[in-house]
Symmetry: C2
Subunit: 435 residues, 2 copies
C-alpha cells in the first residue's frame, strides 16, 4: 500500500488555536485521536490540537464535521474501537475535515472554539478497549544487551533473526499516562528458596505501542502487503518490569507477574496518516544475517516500513523535583533500532490464523540503541544493577526508587515537514502495599 | 469461605423436563449458566436442563423468576459478564428460583415450558466476553512428563513447586465447543534454518477453565481466604497446541503462535454452587516437597479447594466415524492431579496487584495423571511422537490428522449426591489454508 500526503501535511499550514503552531507535539499537522472526559461527563472521542482537546462528538453534533466520519464519531461511544474498525477512509475523512476546521481562515472558528477544552481541564482515558495486548521483542540491541547478561558469548537465541518473537501480555492493567505505579510485591529468588516482598529491581521499558484498526477473521491471516492497512497508529508505551520477579518466574512459559502490574501508554494515537511523512526504509540487516522468510517480505514495507522517530527517556526523583532540578535524560535514540517492522509484527501475529481485533495493542518490545546513550531500560543502563547511574543532586540509581518519575518522549521529524510528537507517557513510582 | 448446600443439591430432586433426570451432565442439580441464540435471535442468558435450554430472559419477562436475579438477567445483554460480576448472592438466588421452577411439582410448569428450547435447535456462544485469558501449568504430572522429554534427570524447574507458573494467553481466538480447528501454518525448525508450512505436530491439551466472577481493583490483590468468592465456576478447556511451532518460537518469552490459533471451551459454566458437593481436600504434597509461601495457604482451601472430577478424552478419526466405530478413549483421570488449587491460581495472579475482571478465563494447564492411562496430551501419549497410538480400524496416530475429532468430558461425582457434568467440549481438525 502507499501512504498518500495531502494538504493536511503542508508544513506551512497554521491553526487559529492559540499556541498550536508552537506546540512541539500537537500542531495542526498531527491531529491524534484519543478519548477524554470533560469534568463530570462520560468519555468521548477527541483530537489534540496544541494545549487543547477538540470534542469530536460536540463538533459532529454542531454540524462542523459530517459524513461517515461524523456518524461513526457519534456511534463510537466511550471507546474508539468502532472508529478504529472503520479504517483509513474514515480516519482520512475526519482528519481532512478537522484540519480545515482548525486551520487559519476556517469559516467556523467561533463554533469550533465552543468544542475545545484545555488539556489541563480534562481527564484522558485509554483510547480503545484493548481486547488483547501482545508484546514483541523486536529491539535487537535490547535483546542483545539482555542476552549478554545471561550468555555473553551467544546473546541472541537461534530463532531471533527468523521469528518476530512476541508473547501475550496482560490487557487489563494497561493505563494511560499519569496512572501511578504501585511497586509490585511477589516471589523472588533468595539464597535458600524464594523470598516474598516488594520488588527491589523495578525497571521501565521504552517501547512503541501499535494500535490495530480493522481486524481479521479467525483463520484468515493478514498478508504482509496489506498489513499496514490494519495499523491505526502509534503511541509511546512503557512496559514496567520487575526484574527480580521476572528472573524467578519466567521459565519455562515467559514473563507473567513481572509485567502485569501496570503498563503505561500515551493516550493519543498518532494516526497512520499523521505518520506518513515520517516513513523511512527499514534499515538493512547486518552482513551475514539471514533473509526473512518470504511471508514477511514486501518491497513497499522494506522501503517505507520504519519511522523517523527519536525516542527519549527522562527520570526525576522526588528529591530532584523538590529541589527544582531538571529531569535527567537517561537515553535518546532512533525508533528504527527494530529488527522487524510493525507490518511484519502484524503479519507474523496472524500467520497461524490468530485473529486481531480493532483496538488491540501491540508493543514493540524495548527499543535500545547499540550504544549506552540509547539504552531503553535501567537493566541495560546499570549493567544488570552493577553500575549505578548518577542523578543530579547526588543520588544514584540502579533500579527505580519510590517517588521516581519516568517520562517517555517521542518526536517525529523529516526534512520539509513539521515535526510532531506523541504527548506525555509518564508514571510515578509509589510505595508497595502493606504485605 | 464456606460452600453451603441447600435444597437445590438434594439428590432426590426431580425435574418435570422430559429426560432431565436421566441426563448425565445436566440434571436439575446442575443448572449451569451459558449464552445461547434461538434461531435468528440475539444471544441471551440461559441455564441447561437435560437436553433443553431455559431462556432466562424469557423466564424473567414472564415473571417466573424475580428479584435481583431477574433484573440482572434482563440487563446482562449478550454476555454474562454483568451476571458474573454480581457474584454468588445473585447466582444463588437465580439457582434456587430456577430449581423450584423446573422441579416436579412446580406451579409454573406450563409457563416455563414456553421458555425451553431443545439444545439441538440453538446455537451456543462463549458465555462471557473474555477480557483476558491466562493459562497456568498446575498439572504437575504433565509438567514432569514434558520436562522429561527435554531434561530426563531434572524434569521440573526449580521454581515449579514454589510458583503457580502461568502465562498470558490469547483471548480473541477462544471459541465454544464445536468450532472447527483449521490446522495452523507457521515457522518450524528445519535441518538448515526454519521451514514454513502447516504444523505436523498438532496436539490437544486437556484442561479445566476457571471463570472469574467479581474482579479486583488494580493494585489490590485477592487474598487466599477470599479467592473462592471470585470464581464463578468451571468449564472444560482444550488448549490446542502446535508442538513444532512451539519448539521453535517459545524461547525466551513463552508460547505464542503455537497456541493462539484456537482454544475450545465448553460453553456452560458449572457454577461454584453446583460444584459445592464435589469439593475435596487438595492432595497432600509428596514427602520432601516445600511448603507453599504463606500468601498461598488457607486452611479451608487446603481442606476443600480441589474437585472430584473425572476427566476423559476421546478421539475419532474421519475414517472411524465413516465406519461407525466408537470413539477411542485416550485417557481418564482425576482433576485433582493439580499441584495448586484454583484459589491459589487466583491469589497468585493478583499478588502483584494485577486486576482480574468479571468474565476473565483462567486455564489450569494440561491435567495428566502419573500413569499413561491419564495423560492429557498426545505429546505425552506418543512420547513426543516416537510411539504411535493404535486406533480402531487400523490407523495409528502420533499427532492429530485432518478429520480427527477430540472430545473432552468431565463428570463430577460424590457419595450421596447426583453426578453432574460439563457438556460437550469438541473440536474437529480441518485442513490448513493454502499457503
Amino acid at each position: 500500500m502507499t501512504f498518500p500526503l495531502d494538504s493536511t501535511h503542508d508544513p506551512d499550514l497554521r491553526s487559529w488555536v492559540e499556541g498550536a503552531d508552537d506546540h512541539s507535539d500537537f500542531p495542526i499537522q498531527n491531529l491524534p485521536l484519543g478519548m477524554f472526559s470533560p469534568e463530570d461527563r462520560s468519555p468521548r472521542a477527541a483530537m489534540a490540537i496544541g494545549d487543547y482537546v477538540l470534542d469530536l462528538v460536540a463538533a459532529a453534533d454542531a454540524g462542523l464535521i459530517g459524513g461517515d466520519a461524523a456518524r461513526i464519531v457519534r456511534e463510537t461511544g466511550e471507546q474508539l474501537n468502532l472508529l478504529l474498525a472503520a479504517g483509513a477512509p474514515v480516519r482520512v475523512e475526519l482528519r481532512q475535515q478537522v484540519s480545515r476546521l482548525l486551520a487559519v481562515g476556517s469559516e467556523h472558528e467561533a463554533a469550533a472554539r465552543a468544542c475545545l477544552f484545555a488539556h489541563t481541564d480534562v481527564t484522558m482515558h485509554l483510547p480503545a478497549q484493548i481486547g488483547d495486548y501482545t508484546d514483541f521483542y523486536v529491539g535487537v540491541h535490547h535483546a542483545t544487551n539482555i542476552g549478554k547478561l545471561f550468555r555473553p558469548d551467544n546473546p541472541l537465541l537461534p530463532n531471533y533473526k527468523h521469528v518476530p518473537i512476541g508473547y501475550h501480555g496482560r490487557a487489563s492493567s494497561i493505563r494511560p499516562s499519569g496512572a501511578p505505579l504501585k511497586r509490585p510485591v511477589g516471589q523472588q529468588k533468595g539464597e535458600e528458596g524464594p523470598v516474598f516482598g516488594p520488588s527491589k529491581r523495578l525497571d521501565y521499558e521504552l517501547e512503541m505501542g501499535v494500535w490495530i484498526s480493522q481486524g481479521n477473521a479467525l483463520g484468515d491471516p493478514i498478508d504482509i502487503a496489506s498489513a499496514s492497512e490494519h495499523i491505526a497508529g502509534l503511541s509511546l508505551f512503557n512496559d514496567w518490569s520487575a526484574r527480580d520477579i521476572q528472573a524467578w518466574e519466567y521459565q519455562p512459559l515467559g514473563p507473567f507477574l513481572s509485567k502485569s502490574f501496570l503498563s503505561t501508554v500515551s493516550p493519543w494515537i498518532v494516526t497512520a496518516e499523521a505518520l506518513a511523512p515520517f516513513r523511512i526504509a527499514q534499515p538493512a540487516r547486518p552482513e551475514g544475517d539471514p533473509a526473512p522468510l518470504p511471508y514477511l517480505i514486501d518491497e513497499t514495507d522494506q522501503a517505507s516500513g520504519a519511522f523517523a522517530i527519536t525516542l527519549e527517556v527522562y527520570l526525576s526523583s522526588a528529591k530532584m523535583r523538590n529541589q527544582g532540578l531538571t529531569d535527567l535524560k537517561l537515553s535518546s535514540g532512533p525508533a528504527s533500532n527494530m529488527y522487524w517492522t510493525v507490518a511484519q509484527m502484524v503479519t507474523h501475529h496472524t500467520v497461524n490464523g490468530c485473529n486481531l481485533l480493532p483496538g488491540d495493542l501491540l508493543g514493540t518490545g524495548t527499543i535500545s540503541a547499540p550504544d549506552r546513550s540509547g539504552y531503553g531500560s535501567l537493566m541495560e543502563l546499570s549493567s544488570g544493577g552493577k553500575e549505578p547511574i548518577d542523578l543530579p543532586g547526588g543520588e544514584t540509581r540502579t533500579f527505580l526508587e519510590d517517588g521516581d518519575r519516568i517520562s517517555l518522549r517521542g518526536t517525529l521529524s523529516a526534512p520539509g515537514f513539521r515535526s510532531i510528537g506523541f504527548g506525555a507517557c509518564v508514571g510515578d513510582v509509589t510505595p508497595a502495599r502493606e504485605y
